[in-house]
C-alpha cells in the first residue's frame, strides 16, 4: 500500500469523530418505503403490529460531519460511490437513535485515468438502551487530479 495511504489509515481509522441523535419519524420511513416500492405492511403501515423502518432507511440518516475535522484535503472531486448497511435489530417509530461515526476503511484503486482514493465512513447506530441496531456505511471516491 502507498505510504500516504498508510499514513492516513494509521492516523484516522477507527477514531470516532461525530455523534448525532436522530428522532425516528414513522411517517418519514413509511414514505421512504412507499416511494421505493415496498409493499410489505410492516414497512408501510403505521398501524401494523410489526411496523418498522426498512433496513436501508438508515442510509438516509446523515451525520454532522462525513470526515474528521483535521482530515487533510486530498485534492480532486469527491463523489458518493456507494452505501452499505448492516442490520442487527428492527428500528421502530418514535425511538431516538445515536449515530457515532468513524472512518472504517481507506483504500485506493488505480485505473487509466489515475488513482482513486476510497474513504468508507461508518455510522454505528445505537438505540436508547445502547443496543447496536445497524451500521450505515458511505463510500466516497476521490479521483485525484492528474498533476497530483
Amino acid at each position: 500500500m502507498e505510504t500516504d495511504i498508510e499514513e492516513l489509515r494509521s492516523g484516522f481509522l477507527n477514531e470516532e469523530f461525530d455523534e448525532v441523535a436522530f428522532d425516528i419519524d414513522g411517517q418519514r420511513f413509511a414514505e421512504y418505503a412507499l416511494s421505493c416500492g415496498e409493499q410489505a405492511p410492516r414497512f408501510t403501515d403505521p398501524a401494523h403490529a410489526d411496523f418498522q423502518a426498512p433496513p436501508t432507511f438508515v442510509s438516509t440518516l446523515v451525520g454532522g460531519r462525513s470526515l474528521p475535522v483535521d482530515f487533510p484535503r486530498l485534492g480532486g472531486v469527491g463523489m458518493d460511490a456507494g452505501k452499505g448497511v448492516e442490520w442487527m435489530a428492527p428500528i421502530r417509530a418514535g425511538v431516538t437513535l445515536t449515530g457515532k461515526s468513524h472512518l472504517h476503511d481507506i483504500y485506493t484503486k488505480t485505473g487509466r485515468s489515475g488513482r482513486m482514493i476510497f474513504l468508507v465512513t461508518r455510522m454505528e447506530l445505537f438505540d436508547e438502551e445502547g443496543v447496536h441496531v445497524a451500521n450505515a456505511d458511505t463510500r466516497t471516491v476521490i479521483r485525484e487530479r492528474p498533476s497530483e
Partner: protein
C-alpha cells in the same frame, strides 16, 4: 415457480428474482425529496441538473438502494435483509425506464441465509447500480 418465497427451502442457487421496474418518475422522486430528503434541484429539476452538467435529474443514491431492498421484499416478504452493499457506478436518471434484476449466488439452508446479486440497468442495458445482499429466511 411462485413469484415469492417464504422459507429458505423455496430458494435454489441461481434462482432469478422477478424483475422489478422501479418508479423513477419525477413525481415520485419529488415525493421522496419532500418526505425523506434529497429534494435539491439536481434531483427534482431536469433543467437545473443539466446546468450542473448531468444529462437530467438524478435519482438519489439512497433511493436506488431503497429500490433494491424493495425488490428483495417483493420476492421474499418475510426476509430480513441483514446486509446490503450498493455500488453507484453511474447515475440513475429520473423519468428514464430502469429495471432491476437479481440472482441468488449462495444458499445456506441450515443458517437460513441467502446471498443475492442485484443490478439496476437502464434502457440501453447499461449497469447503473450494483448491489449484493445477504438475507435471512425462516428455515421451517
Amino acid at each position: 415457480m411462485s413469484d415469492t418465497v417464504t422459507t429458505v427451502g423455496d430458494v435454489e442457487f441461481g434462482t432469478e428474482l422477478p424483475t422489478f421496474a422501479p418508479d423513477t418518475s419525477l413525481e415520485n422522486v419529488k415525493r421522496f425529496g419532500k418526505f425523506v430528503g434529497w429534494g435539491g434541484p439536481r434531483f427534482t429539476d431536469h433543467e437545473a441538473a443539466r446546468k450542473e452538467g448531468f444529462p437530467g435529474a438524478l435519482v438519489p443514491g439512497v433511493m436506488s438502494q431503497g429500490f433494491l431492498g424493495a425488490m428483495i421484499h417483493r420476492w421474499a416478504p418475510s426476509a430480513a435483509i441483514v446486509a446490503i452493499d450498493t455500488v453507484f457506478r453511474a447515475p440513475v436518471l429520473v423519468d428514464q425506464p430502469h429495471q432491476i434484476v437479481g440472482v441468488v449466488t449462495d444458499v445456506d439452508e441450515e443458517a437460513g441465509s441467502v446471498e443475492i446479486d442485484i443490478t439496476i440497468t437502464n434502457e440501453a442495458e447499461e449497469t447503473r447500480v450494483f448491489g449484493t445482499a445477504t438475507i435471512k429466511l425462516p428455515t421451517g
